[in-house]
Each structure stands twice: as C-alpha cells, then as structure tokens.
C-alpha cells in the first residue's frame, strides 16, 4: 500500500509530459494529415534548448517560467521553419512519403543536435524550490511532480477553449475535416497550417523543457518519446485531444507501475494494453473511423508483367551478379552479400505493402526474429546453418500469424503505428532480456557451416536465396492469391461483395512477408557472425521502407532496384562522412520532394509515356 500512491503520482507526472507531446502530434495530424515522425525530435530540441536557456538564467521560479516561455517560442519557431521548408512541399505526396520525409528530418536533427551539444547527457541542476516535498497521506511527494500533474489538465483545458471558443479553432476543426473546402471558402490554408504546426511544436518544446528537472537532455529522447506518443495517440484515437489525455494517463500510470512490478517487460505490458484497446475499439478510445481523404486520388496504375526489355536487363544483371566474385575483391563481396539480404528484406516488405496495402513501420521485427531464432537454436542445441536458415522463416512466420490476428483489423496510419510499436517491443525484449539474448552485446559466434564459409560460396548461397524468394513472391502476385490480395487493397467493399475473405488474405500476406524477411535476417547474421538488437531498431525498419519507396510501390522490380541503390548509397555514405545521418536525412527529404512515385515508378512512367491509352 505504501508504494502505491507515490507510484501513482509518478505515473500521473509522466502522463503530463506524454500528453504534451501527443497532443501536438494529434493536432498536427488532424489538420495536415501528416504523422509527424520528427515530433519527438522537437521535444528533444526543447530539452536541449531549454537546458541552454535555463542554465543561463537565475534559478528562481519566475525565471524558470520565463525560460520555459522562451523555449516554447524557440521550438515553435523551429516548427515554423520546418513546416515552411519541408512539410509544405510534401502535403500532396502520398501518406507514406510524408512519414518518410519527417523521418529524414529526425536523422538531420539527430546530427545537428549532436554537433551543437555533443554526445554527453546534460542534466539540469535542480534549484532549491524544485527539490521541495509535499506530504500527501503520509507520503512525502516531490513538489515538482505535483506541478507536472497539474500541467496536463490545464493544457487540455486551454486547448479545448482554443479549439471550441475561437474562430481560429473553428477553422482548424473545419480544416481537419476538409481542408480543400476551407480554402475554397476563402481561408488561407498556409497560415493556418503553419500556425497549427507552430502550436504543436511549441507543445512538444514545453514537454521537453518540463522533463529536464526529472531526467536530462539526451540524444535518445526523440525515438523513445515518439514511440510512446504513437502508442498514446493510437490508444486515444487519432485526432482526439481528450483521447490523447486519457491514453496518456493510462500509459503513464502503466509505465510507472510496470517499472516497479515487471521492470523487464514494461514495454510488453504497454503493448498488450494497446492491443486489447485496439481489438475492442479499432479506432482508439475516443477516435472515429478515418474519413476518406478528400483529395483527387489518381487511381493506382494497372499492374502488368514487366516489358520484355526489362526482363532481358534483369537477366544480364543476374549473369553479372553470378560472375561478380571472379572480378571483385572481398570487401565488395561483402557489400554484394548485403545487397542480397537487402533484396529479400525489401521485396518481402513490398509484398505486404504494395499489393497488400499494409505499410509496416516495423519490418525489422521479422528480420530480428529470424536472426534470433537461428542464433538461439545454435546456442541451445548447436543447430547448423541449414537448420537455422529453415527455422528463421518458420519462427518469423508463426509470430507474424499471431501478430497478424489483430493487425489486420486496422488500416492506414493506425496499422503503421502499431507495427512500429510492435517492433519496439521485439527490440526491447532483445535488449532487456539479457540472460537469453545477451542484451546489448548480442549473440556472437554464429558462423556459416564449414562448406559455406568461403565468402564466395556464401555469396552465391545468398544470391540463390534472394533470387529464389523474389521470384516466388512475384509468382504468387500474378496467381489468384496475389490478385485477390490486390483486390482487397483496391476496394475492400467490392472484394467482400464478391466473397473474398479480406482479413484472411491480409494475414497470409503478413505471414509470407514475415517469413521471407526472417530468412533475410538469418542470412545477414550468418554473414556477420552475430546478432544484435540494432537489427530491430527503428532506423533499420525505415531502411526497408526507404528501399521500397525508392524503387516505387507500383512495380515488382521496384523493391529490388531500391534495395540495390540504397545498399550502394549507404555504403558510400558511411565510408565517406561522419555526418551520414545528416546527409542521408537530407537525401530522403530531397527524394520525397523530387520523386513521389519512387525511382522505378518514375522510370516506368517515362517508359510508358505515350504507350498506353
């Protein structure tokens, strides 16, 4: 009993900062329809800028408040710059490309922050007034946490007034429903969007600065808070401020108790709660079904088999790939093996994402599950490589079937966020369950069988598997199953009305994609000799997305081209600069702005220009 109340209050305090970030995310999404991946980065900047301001000011409460105000203004200003420079240019791009562009911003801001403030954590020394305690029911409770607890409801109340009692709020709510119509009624969308973004960014900045006294400014804030914020927004219902508030309370309290009760699996607990909520309320606690986007959508082009010229080109490339070991050295052989892994990684994601219409932001989960399955079997029973390579897809496929049971009940952004959260859980298990997975140190000593240890032989094995998987997936796509999957994506209502089982089609797509991806994880692990939690990290999942989107969703050859281009680019980048995140992030943003349909998509359009009525 003694520990319950303090723990509850800690949870409530955590809920407040979570709410600040999630509310900004939700407001921005409402109006711009962009899920702002870089929202966590804005909070991180809030912490750093807040630190720089607060450490320079006197340490009295009134100065603290002034510091907060300055920080909020600074982050709101950064938000404005971000909106004007990047987001404004991608409003008309497809949803996924927007997410990708904001992820590019995450990478850029990571390096910028590192460059300005350095890698060391920056704690804020707590002044005397902040260290006070208040006695509640016999427990001494930190004064500052009480302040935090009040901030959440106060901000919720102010936002409610702003949204429901001002003309600006009415316009924002109208734009959330139909922004084109708002423009046609004479409202300047640009200023509206920019001001909304400034408000959302300011809230994130406030969250960042307020979190300083209890933690510190550090480089991990961005991705960890964005995962939590996604969970909150999904549980609460996208676009609902009240929902975000309730979900923040739920998640905040859960985390506070989880850390005491089940420290190792707090994230798993959070995930389970989210799963339960989504099974009963697929649109979140307070959410409503997503309205159909009110934009002139250009229909997806008809998928036809590749033109003969492209097949010949493919055969030539394959012949070159087979002969490559005779020409290139060991280093490039490693890069080529990585490329084979990347091909499976990307084609498997394309399978569920293109024809399946399920955009996963956590594809690396299957990669990791496959890798760990092979690694653990080796460690427990000394399983050799062929067994490991067989076990990997089986394990990933089984988990995908379990996970698929409720993921196929969602669609669009919800599905993307859920897959991201799921991947974070798998990552957390691999990272925290040290006894089994070796934690951060990973599993070492996973080498190919004796007969395959020669890099050339191993490369050929990887090549055969990559080409085999790509061809099998392609075959399935042109068979009735693949068509039915595409039918379910094109129009779920029509698919059902001709008797197709949409959910089952999607689960099977997820299982196939997961299994194939698991295989790529195993190949990768054998080629590197070990398995690490980074295989499951968010950036790795985003790599898969990048490859697919680079290549374009509309062609079967797309993900292969994307995988090759990406592997090549990454290799050059990582070797040539320390600021690779900055460069990669900028490249992503530029690509999204320049080629909204991917490289292969653009090439296909040029190729077909004038050939199709």
């Amino acid at each position: 009993m003694d520990s319950i109340i303090p723990q509850l209050l800690t949870g409530l305090a955590g809920a407040s900062s979570l709410f600040l970030v999630a509310s900004g995310l939700t407001i921005i999404f409402g109006v711009t329809r962009i899920v702002n991946f870089s929202h966590g980065s804005l909070m991180m900047l809030g912490a750093y800028i807040g630190w720089s301001i607060l450490t320079r000011l006197p340490r009295d409460p009134e100065w603290f408040i002034l510091g907060l105000v300055l920080t909020v203004l600074a982050i709101a200003l950064i938000g404005v710059v971000l909106e004007v420079v990047v987001l404004r240019r991608v409003y008309r791009a497809p949803e996924l490309f927007q997410l990708l562009a904001t992820f590019g911003v995450v990478l850029v801001l990571q390096d910028v922050t590192l460059w300005i403030w350095g890698a060391v954590e920056l704690p804020l020394p707590r002044p005397r007034w902040m260290r006070g305690f208040v006695e509640i029911m016999g427990n001494r409770f930190p004064f500052y946490d009480l302040i935090l607890i009040f901030v959440g409801p106060v901000v919720l109340g102010l936002l409610w007034l702003l949204m429901n009692r001002t003309r600006w709020g009415t316009l924002v709510r109208a734009a959330t429903l139909d922004r084109e119509m708002v423009a046609a009624l004479g409202v300047n969308q640009r200023t509206l969007f920019t001001s909304v973004f400034a408000l959302g960014a300011g809230l994130a900045g406030l969250g960042g600065a307020l979190s300083l006294p209890n933690s510190s400014a550090n480089l991990n804030i961005d991705l960890s808070i964005i995962t939590d914020a996604f969970v909150v927004v999904v549980v609460g219902g996208l676009g609902s401020l009240t929902g975000a508030f309730l979900a923040s309370l739920l998640i905040g309290i859960l985390q506070a108790f989880g850390i005491v009760l089940v420290p190792k699996i707090t994230l798993v607990l959070v995930f389970l709660v989210m799963a339960v909520v989504l099974v009963f309320r697929p649109n979140g606690l307070m959410g409503r079904p997503q309205a159909e986007a009110r934009e002139a959508t250009v229909a997806a082009p008809v998928i036809r088999a590749a033109p003969r010229e492209l097949r010949i080109l493919g055969l030539v490339a394959l012949a070159l790939a087979v002969a490559a070991p005779l020409v290139v050295g060991d280093y490039y052989l490693t890069v080529l093996t990585d490329a084979c892994v990347a091909i499976i990684f990307a084609t498997s994601l394309h399978f569920m994402m293109g024809p399946g219409g399920m955009a996963s932001f956590g594809h690396a989960a299957w990669f990791g599950i496959g890798a760990y399955a092979a690694g653990l079997l080796m460690q427990w029973i000394g399983a050799p490589m062929p067994v490991g390579m067989l076990a990997a897809p089986v394990a990933a496929g089984i988990v995908a079937a379990l996970f698929g049971w409720f993921v196929v009940r969602l669609s669009g952004v919800y599905l993307s966020m859920l897959t991201l959260a799921f991947a974070q859980i798998v990552w957390a298990i691999s990272f925290q369950w040290v006894e089994v997975t070796g934690g951060d140190n990973g599993l070492l000593g996973l080498w190919p069988s004796e007969w395959a240890r020669d890099p050339t032989i191993f490369y050929w094995i990887a090549l055969v598997l990559a080409v085999g998987v790509a061809l099998l997936l392609r075959r399935a796509l042109f068979a009735p199953y693949g068509y039915a999957l595409r039918a379910a994506r094109d129009s779920a209502t029509r698919a059902q009305s001709i008797g197709l089982d949409v959910k089952r089609l999607r689960i099977v797509a997820l299982v196939i994609a997961g299994a194939a991806c698991g295989l790529s994880g195993a190949i990768f692990s054998y080629s590197k000799g070990g398995i690490f939690p980074t295989y499951i990290s968010i950036p790795h999942s985003v790599e898969a997305l990048l490859m697919v989107l680079l290549g374009g969703l509309q062609t079967v050859a797309g993900p292969i081209i994307g995988a090759l281009v990406y592997t090549g680019l990454a290799d050059i980048l990582v070797r040539s600069t320390d600021l690779w995140r900055l460069v990669l992030g900028s490249v992503i943003v530029l690509l999204v702005v320049a080629f909204p349909e991917g490289i292969a998509g653009a090439a296909r359009r040029l190729w077909l220009r004038g050939r199709e009525a």
């Binding site: 709510r173 423009a183 046609a184 009624l185 409202v187 309205a291």
Partner: protein, 233 residues
C-alpha cells in the same frame, strides 16, 4: 463579369478541359449541361482555383485569376458550392457558417445567419446540430448558406439537386430564384434538365471538355436537334 477563355486542364495524363470557354454577365443565371465526366465540375474547380489549369485565361471583373490560390479567388467575391455537399460534419450549423464568413465588400448588404435562416427556415431550427446529423437536403441548404456567408457576387453551384428527393429539389429551385432576385450571378452545373429549366436564363452544353452549344434557355427549348444530339432528351 466572368470570362473563361481557352481553358485546358489535365488530371495526370487525362486531358479534361480542352479549350473550355464561357462568358457571364452580371445577374445572369447560366446552367452548364453535359454528361458526367464532360468537364462541368472541372470547369468550376478551375475557376475557384482548386484545379490549376495548364493553359487558358479566367478573368473575374476584369482581373486575371487563373492560377491564383483558392482562398484569394474566394476573397475576390467568388463562391463555390461543391457537389456532394461537403459540410463540416463535426461542426454545428452556426460553426459551419462561421467558417464561410468573410466581410462584405463595398455597397453590398452583407449576409448574416439571421438573413440566411429566412431563406432556409429549416436551418434556423437546428443551429446547434452537427452537419453530419442532418439529412441530405438540409446539408445542401447548409453548404449554400455557408458559401453565402462569404458575401460572394458570383456563385458556382455544382449539381445542387443531385441525390435529393423531388420535393427538396423544388425547395432548392425556390431558393435559387430568391438569390437571383437579390442580384446574384449564378453558374449552375446540372444533369436535371427539369430543374435547370426552372431557374436558368441561359445554358452552355459541354462535351469532352469543350462547349458544343450555347444560348438562352428559350433557344434550347426550341432547338430540338441540339437537345437530341447533346442531351439525348
């Protein structure tokens, strides 16, 4: 007052408007006739700026407006009522009207919610009802009222009778005639010839993105050949 000249637009590779032209005088009510996909809606969206024309001129009160942003065009005194209504479903009647509000331009008697409720008495009885919980006919009234809150001098009405019960269509015709009485210039897109005949002075028939017939309503009634050829009635 409004002059559209040689307008071309594309959606992707599809060439929708192919040299569309149109003239409208002050106080005129003109109907655009033509089958679905002929380019009636695209003409309206191009005028209000939601679709950017690839070439051609649009001038309103002598000012060139082609390629301007929608909100600027709207503020010049052009109102747009889209097809399939598009009320803000979560917003109440009063809030919907608030979104459309623009200050009146010189010399005009500005529209207020109260004046609009005289025109559409149904709306006045449901001021706080969310747009999404109104019937189709009520929603259509609301979109028109919402556009009028911007005090436009010319209104583009895209298929206001579509999907409405005949008895509601009759009310709609009365409301449009009342607006005409106020001196408003109206460009109407319609498939319902009975309805159009009751409210319009003149007609323009569109086919494959260009004008194939133009004249007064009386001329259209007299021109049996044109009606059979273009409208199949």
């Amino acid at each position: 007052m409004l002059s559209v000249d040689g307008l071309n637009t594309h959606y992707g590779r599809a060439h929708i408007l192919q040299g569309m032209s149109l003239q409208m005088g002050r106080g005129e009510v003109r109907v655009l006739l033509g089958r679905n996909g002929a380019g009636k809606s695209t003409t309206m969206k191009s005028i209000i700026g939601l679709v950017r024309p690839t070439s051609g001129r649009i001038s309103f009160d002598g000012q060139e407006i082609a390629g301007e942003e929608p909100h600027r065009i709207a503020r010049r005194g052009l109102g747009y009522v889209p097809e399939d209504r598009r009320v803000f479903a979560d917003l109440t009647v009063m809030e919907n009207l608030e979104v459309g509000k623009q200050t009146a331009r010189g010399g005009m008697r500005g529209w207020t919610p109260e004046r609009l409720f005289e025109l559409f008495p149904n709306l006045g009885r449901m001021r706080d009802r969310p747009g999404g919980r109104m019937s189709g006919g009520e929603q259509q009234m609301l979109t028109i009222a919402r556009t009028l809150m911007g005090n436009p001098r010319l209104v583009l009405l895209d298929e206001p009778s579509e999907g409405l019960a005949p008895v509601i269509v009759e009310q709609m015709a009365k409301a449009i005639l009342a607006l005409k009485g106020e001196g408003l210039t109206i460009l109407l897109a319609e498939q319902n010839l009975h309805f159009a005949g009751g409210v319009a002075d003149s007609a323009t028939v569109v086919e494959k993105g260009r004008v194939v017939w133009s004249g007064t309503m009386a001329e259209l009634r007299a021109d049996e050949a044109a009606r059979t050829q273009y409208l199949a009635v």
